[in-house]
């Protein structure tokens, strides 16, 4: 199973689309590793720097509603994966992006708005870190001397995909 813990990157906007996560011009790359430098390159968010230290140290992304909408490109989860970000927490996801995450053995975790507001309360902390325990279905947020623990829902199928390491291995062993 992949790791789902570490410094958090807060992207405080809804409808972040996959063109913003990885622009179409990089879809000509043949290996996932080649995508690495282009993470969130076209994201429109005041004050956000895709090349900044916050982006490169991030291991968890926290965002708002309808994350990952638009193009079906799995390059979006991959550009996170090769930057060691295996989990996105948001209020809701676009279906294809969400499925792509779980299909790669990564996690797209939905929280109601109140839970997200609580996590965004850590956005100002320099040391904000989040750990997601998939099996126990718990999120632990730390930073600025505070700590919160939140529980979340995940479908049994999505959980099985994370535990199996993704859909190819799961499907291959079953069908």
């Amino acid at each position: 199973m992949k790791s789902f813990a570490g410094p958090a990157l807060f992207l405080d906007r809804s409808d972040i689309n996959t063109d913003e996560i990885i622009p179409a011009k990089y879809l000509t790359e043949i290996t996932k590793q080649d995508l690495r430098p282009y993470i969130l390159e076209d994201l429109k968010l005041p004050g956000f720097d895709p090349k900044g230290e916050k982006t490169s140290s991030a291991r968890v992304i926290v965002s708002r509603a309808n994350f990952g909408c638009g193009s079906s490109r799995e390059h979006a989860p991959w550009v996170f994966e090769v930057n060691d970000i295996n989990v996105v927490i948001a209020e809701s996801f676009a279906r294809i992006f969400r499925q792509n995450m779980f299909n790669c053995g990564m996690a797209a975790i939905e929280l109601p708005k109140e839970g997200l507001d609580l996590l965004f309360g850590y956005a100002g902390c320099e040391d904000a870190a989040i750990a997601v325990d998939i099996e126990a279905q718990k999120i632990t947020a730390n930073g600025g001397g505070k700590q919160h623990v939140l529980s979340f829902e995940i479908s049994p199928f999505d959980k099985a995909l994370v535990l199996a390491g993704g859909w190819v291995d799961y499907a291959d062993s079953k069908y």
Partner: protein, 427 residues
């Protein structure tokens, strides 16, 4: 309790229900293009599983960047081409025969009512126009589809969209779907099938139904879907005439897929189209929609007519009727990409291509072209495009560019005036 068309398709294709709410379905068609498939092919090779579940059920095309523009895109095309040859995939379309996937594959008669269809492309929902469950997926789902012929979905909740009334002059399927997306918002249909019903659909051509279903994903929808009727039978007849004794027999067979009268819907939306006006998007999200009067006069630098949304013959006819005998404004450049070679040839034979060229359009080969800013037609920073495509995301057609989505008629009127214009005055 009755079932919706999507529930009937799910029930008839069920392979497994590993957990409550998750259905693994058998696939009838797996479609591939050169942007999202090569990594799946590479991964299958790395796993020592370079196989396909059924070459006859796989359809493949090079369409996004064609002819290749550099060595990277040439490599992507080569990976797909070599793979199609290696597995003797009969329905593979290369330069000379290739066109935009969601226009080309329906035209070949590959999609039938009741089918399950996936592709590593979000606008796969287009094919629901034939009464199929057709969903865009990522590369991993595609990879498993290629290898095993199955795909997992959540149970299909459906939003029924009743389109009543009659379309006014100058208002087309594109205007209707922009209005629907504006109503539902960009995630109003997430994890939902959008079932289009009513007299407006009954009166629509298959081309218009495809335009409508094409943009279901822009409201977050898994698939758009229409009931397969006499119009569907007529469109498919050349491909199915050996399978059915008569058109009536085909229609009777198709009707078994229709949603039951007592089917349960997640939501029902009623829209009377009689008062609709031409619609144009204004922001970077497809649900940011204005009626033409609110946005007319906005200057544009480029007009793009094409794509899986509106690059079909009926779209070209509508635009050519407006452009006939006219010139595009000196301040704009205009590009037409007919979506398939057949559309291109038919447009040539009908004299439409001449109309576009005389008006000052550049006509490209069938390809996705400017739609996703990967090959030709890219905008410069700060430039504006009036486009018949389906996405206006920031950067979609080039970094710093702005895209206004609209119908072919509105784009033609806009080309003439050099600023967003009401097509109704040219009709």
């Amino acid at each position: 309790m009755g079932m919706t068309i999507a529930e009937k398709i799910f029930t008839s294709h069920l392979v497994d229900e590993p957990f409550a709410g998750t259905r693994v379905l058998k696939l009838d068609v797996v479609m591939c293009h050169e942007i999202t498939t090569p990594i799946a092919i590479d991964d299958l090779m790395a796993r020592g599983k370079d196989r396909v579940f059924d070459p006859g059920k796989i359809k493949a095309v090079i369409d996004h960047v064609t002819p290749s523009k550099d060595s990277k895109t040439a490599t992507q095309a080569k990976i797909l081409r070599d793979w199609a040859r290696r597995h003797a995939i009969p329905d593979f379309f290369d330069i000379g025969a290739n066109g935009v996937c969601h226009a080309l594959f329906p035209e070949k008669g590959y999609i039938r009512p009741g089918y399950t269809v996936i592709m590593g492309d979000s606008h796969t929902c287009t094919h629901g126009a034939f009464g199929a469950f057709a969903a865009g997926v990522g590369t991993t789902d595609l990879e498993v589809g290629i290898l095993k012929g199955v795909c997992a979905f959540r149970e299909p909740k459906t939003i029924r969209i009743n389109l009543n009334g009659t379309l006014p002059k100058g208002v087309y399927a594109k205007d209707v779907i922009l209005h629907v997306i504006g109503t539902l918002t960009v995630n109003g249909a997430t994890d939902r099938v959008m079932e289009f019903r009513g007299p407006v659909i009954d009166a629509m051509t298959m081309e218009s139904r495809m335009t409508l279903c094409n943009m279901a994903i822009e409201a977050g929808g898994t698939s758009g879907i229409c009931m397969p009727d006499g119009v569907t039978v007529d469109y498919l007849w050349p491909f199915i005439e050996k399978e059915y004794a008569s058109r009536e027999a085909a229609l009777a067979a198709f009707k078994k897929w229709w949603s039951d009268d007592d089917a349960v819907y997640d939501r029902v939306v009623d829209i009377d189209v009689s008062a609709l006006e031409p619609a144009v998007t204004f922001g970077y999200k497809p649900d940011q929609v204005k009626v033409i009067g609110e946005i007319a006069g906005t200057p544009v630098d480029q007009v793009y007519l094409g794509s899986c949304t509106n690059g079909r013959l009926e779209d070209l006819r509508v635009a050519a009727a407006i452009l006939k005998g006219k010139k595009i404004a000196p301040s704009v450049r205009a590009i037409l990409s007919p979506a398939t070679p057949k559309i291109y040839r038919d447009a040539l034979n009908e004299g439409l291509i001449a109309v576009f060229m005389e008006a000052g359009f550049c006509v490209t080969n069938p390809t996705c072209g400017a739609c996703l800013g990967m090959s030709n037609g890219v905008l410069a920073e700060g430039e504006v495009c009036a486009s018949t495509t389906n996405r206006n995301f920031m950067g979609r057609m080039g970094k710093g560019g702005m895209v206004h989505l609209m119908s072919p008629a509105t784009s033609a009127a806009t080309a003439i005036e050099g600023k967003i214009a009401d097509p109704r005055k040219y009709l």
